[in-house]
């Protein structure tokens, strides 16, 4: 009854090309953003802001980046965490060596450096496909990890390899309170999400999808494969680089290679798959699920199990549950949350009638 587009006519091209053509979607989006920007900072606890929302948003940004590469352009990558790591270390070194650059510019530059590295490791994608490429991107993962651990310059010769990130400030205003950090992350993530959503609807986005569906055919109809694939790698790594810088500066407060290991890459891949490949919405839903579900499992196990158990047993059982749930989810809804959302909307349009 409420969610229906009857009577909404599109009379101009501009109206036809809106991101949210239905007025209810627009209202919903405005409400969501208002809640995220105003209500959450006012009412959320410090724990919720620093331990739940900030990491969730940052990982959603990384998932968005991987989604550009895997969901839209169809190139497997297991090196997401490596590009995040490049972003984090680039931001740290820029801040350290060129302290006069404003913070936001540093994040952009860090993203650009990550994009450059991403394009280098994306070069093999022109020759290699599918799982061969996925394994090849692992080279990035291990190489970057080794580089930042072994070459002292990157970590400013810190003996432990763990560096405290510099405090953040924009125009003299310190961002070191939970609310301000959250707002910074939220603004950057919303902006980049909007860019990603729009990109997927442009010529670039369409050529990515053509390459994903079949790159030989795409080449035949005149899409430059080299440029399209490298652009996908570059942009994806840009997103991951910014996410990595935010992860280090706004969430952890430290810059360390261990924060960006292979498990992180898998975590982000899970987000993309469970959220739904090739959707912006999916990256957020997937990130929310993958960050919140282990916390829920942890809570549930501690609520159910009373008394003494062997240390480590609970976390192992959680691991089993998590793995099993991933499999169940893949079987039940292989297209992820984004498809569930779609189905829900279809149902809502007809409600209260069955057909």
């Amino acid at each position: 009854m409420i969610y229906r587009e009857a009577g909404q006519f599109r009379t101009t091209y501009a109206a036809d090309q809106r991101i949210f053509p239905i007025v209810q979607d627009r209202v919903g989006m405005v409400l969501l953003l208002a809640a995220a920007f105003v209500a959450v900072p006012l009412f959320a606890s410090e724990y919720a802001l620093t331990a739940l929302l900030v990491p969730m948003l940052v990982l959603a940004l990384a998932a968005l980046g991987l989604n550009i590469l895997t969901g839209y352009a169809g190139q497997f990558s297991l090196g997401t965490a490596a590009f995040m790591s490049v972003g984090a270390f680039a931001a740290y070194n820029l801040q350290l060596r060129l302290p006069w650059i404003p913070l936001l510019v540093i994040f952009v530059l860090a993203g650009l450096i990550a994009a450059g590295v991403g394009m280098v490791f994306g070069l093999p994608s022109l020759r290699i496909k599918g799982f061969y490429l996925a394994v090849a991107t692992l080279a990035a993962q291990f190489f970057v990890d080794w580089l930042f651990t072994k070459v002292g310059w990157f970590s400013n010769y810190s003996s432990s390899g763990v560096i405290t990130a510099q405090p953040m400030a924009i125009a003299g205003i310190s961002l070191e309170t939970p609310v301000r950090r959250y707002l910074l992350v939220l603004s950057i993530v919303s902006l980049l999400a909007l860019v990603a959503k729009n990109l997927s609807r442009t010529r670039t986005g369409r050529s990515w999808m053509a390459v994903r569906d079949m790159d030989v055919a795409a080449e035949v109809i005149g899409i430059p494969i080299l440029r399209t694939k490298l652009l996908a790698f570059g942009l994806s790594s840009f997103y991951c680089g910014v996410a990595g810088a935010l992860w280090a500066f706004a969430y952890l407060g430290t810059v360390e290679p261990q924060a960006f290991d292979l498990q992180r890459s898998f975590q982000i891949l899970f987000m993309v798959i469970i959220g739904g490949l090739g959707t912006v919405m999916g990256a957020f839903l997937g990130a929310a699920f993958i960050t919140l579900f282990p916390l829920f499992l942890n809570w549930a196990f501690h609520a159910v199990v009373r008394g003494e158990v062997r240390p480590g047993l609970l976390s192992q059982l959680e691991l089993v549950c998590f793995g099993a749930l991933i499999i169940v989810f893949l079987i039940v809804e292989p297209h992820g949350f984004a498809r569930l959302w779609q189905i829900g909307k279809e149902k809502l349009r007809l409600w209260p009638f069955p057909h």
Partner: protein, 293 residues
Amino acid sequence: MAFFVEVLVGGLLAGVMYSLVALGFVLIFKASGVFNFAQGAMVLTAATTYAGLVDRGWSGWAAFLAALAVMIVFALLTERLVLRPLVNQPQISLFMATIGLTFVLEGASQAVWGSVVRGLDLGIPDTPLEVKGVLISKFDLVASATAGALVVALASFFQWTRTGRALRAVADDHQAALSVGIPLERIWALVWAAAGAVALVTGLLWGSRLGVQFALTQVALKALPVIILGGFTSIAGAIVGGLMVGASEKVAEVYLGPIIGGGIENWFPYVLALLFLLVRPDGLFGEKRIERV
């Protein structure tokens, strides 16, 4: 020169151990097109089951058979509960499902057997043997002989038995195989069981080297460059790739490592494989891809 030969031989023998892990990957990929990331976790599960049972006073053979039974049950369950419902899904979904399996196996094997490091003594002496001035570990020789025997057995099974022929048919074309009456489900259960058996042998050999512990799962990461180097679909490729990776990794670590800071064996095989792929995008012995629009 003798030193170089020693490093090279040591590398080659280590390479055989990589080949063993790679073999498990190739078996499953060949027959079902699934990139089985859980192979490392299977190695861990098989080895901890064996070591755990031996710890409780079982004899070696009984523990071996029991661990084998566990792997076969696991294969049957995987086929029934994971692969069958996921038929016709994109490869990436299947790959993600095997990462899920990895979590399940890692969690379950540690929950059952604990996360302590167990030593494993197979009764093979690890004493060096001198051949023309080059020192070779006896254990490595036995390990390579085992790997060799396993490969010959698997290859002849694929080549000359009825089931092996069915397996190759399935690998070639699922639909065609189904239409001539080859039971796909049974074949899949069979390859997963075979990969489980390979994982058990790998786990025993690696386990007596490193100790049976969680780090065994990392062995899988060592095998990935081997299979892309050799090609996903080739058993011979797994062997040759393993030898190449093992040898070049050791030689690079010894000669190149000191120059650029050491610890390069983590990424060197990957870069090597990457360079190879630039020339041969399907690995050394992988099936040629023919693309049509």
